[in-house]
Symmetry: C2
Subunit: 219 residues, 2 copies
């Protein structure tokens, strides 16, 4: 039996098992919840039974929220963060420092940075990182768009805030090199790598300790 056939059979058996024990609309909802990331069969059942317990209005609020993000959320044409406006609230905020742009890989990283309340510049969301293993090359990210933004001349610092992973570091290095090749004369910085606040030297992994050594500063 080919792999696809086995997979098909597996999905059918699994689906059949769900249908066997639940009424059909309930089986369908359990199945839909199971498709979500981090939701296993047990959590999916728990969520579905929860939906049965809440009021019709509350269930409708959830269903509408799911539909509305698909209807109204799009990418900001400047920074490629999620927005429901023509241009996102950060890009159109006059109080922001327009000379500093923070490059991140995903919209959720913008949320993380914003939560610090420390960063007052703009963002640029790449939509991923360079990853030959997953077949993601520089052309599939919003790097060309970043170069165009930087080319306008308003930006004096590009802060590369991709994750401190092999892919994130590679992407940061690639962007830094490309910016220099294109003659960008502003500052190109990288978020610091080191020990997380409140962590324990004893429990830190080797790679983090090495980075914490290399990034050390005089105090």
């Amino acid at each position: 039996m080919a792999g696809e056939d086995i997979r098909q059979l597996f999905v059918c058996t699994r689906l059949w098992k769900i249908i066997m024990h639940y009424a059909k609309p309930l089986a369908k909802l359990v199945g839909e919840f199971e498709k979500l990331p981090g939701i296993g069969p047990k959590s999916a059942q728990r969520l579905a039974f929860h939906i049965l317990r809440i009021s019709e209005d509350e269930a409708k609020a959830l269903a509408d929220a799911v539909l509305n993000v698909k209807l109204y959320i799009k990418l900001c044409p400047v920074c490629y963060n999620y927005t429901d406006q023509d241009c996102c609230e950060i890009c159109s905020d006059a109080k922001r420092d327009r000379s500093l742009v923070c490059v991140v890989s995903e919209p959720r990283d913008v949320v993380a940075m914003e939560k610090t309340n420390e960063f007052r510049g703009l963002f640029h969301v790449l939509g991923g990182v360079i990853s030959p293993m997953d077949g993601v090359g520089p052309d599939m990210l919003k790097i060309r768009e970043l170069l165009a933004r930087v080319g306008d001349g308003e930006i004096t610092e590009v802060l590369l805030a991709t994750n401190p992973t092999i892919e994130g570091d590679t992407t940061a290095m690639y962007i830094a090199r490309t910016l220099k090749e294109r003659g960008f004369e502003g500052r190109i910085s990288r978020i610091a790598h080191g020990m997380p606040v409140g962590s324990d030297m004893d429990y830190a992994d080797q790679a983090t300790l090495i980075q914490a050594l290399q990034w050390r500063r005089d105090i």
Copy 2:
């Protein structure tokens, strides 16, 4: 400040924080996901970003599934399990042993029992357990309906399969006593309490070990 005021303020601040970092429809969806049991702020964000990544059809399938359970799922008038039929599939299955009824507290317990593929009788879902702490008395459960079913004369064994907790045991005892008072002459049984299969004597809690001793059988 009264407790309710503080709670209100807390909810507002929390909501405001969500709205601050996300576009509005996205903040709404994160908020809706956070209301679900077992979903914290981080998981809610992860689920919402997942919805943004999947196709519109897939999101619609989830939203429809949520709405459809509320539209089509109701309680079976015989056993009070969830169903989308006039009478649930188990109750209307002619191959089932109609002389044996298994009493459980929640619809999810029916699913658990059905998954064993061992039980061929019918069910009766109480919709909870007797719990003075939570203000749940016998009148708020489907006990009267159980007595009426048993009164029809077809049932010769009532298997009490409420959870092996104080509330579950109390509910089982109450039903057993009431059945006897009403002159039920069939068998009244209780699911066995003891060591779970594959568990370790060394790690078992005292209450379970005591039960396992008291329920011991000659082999």
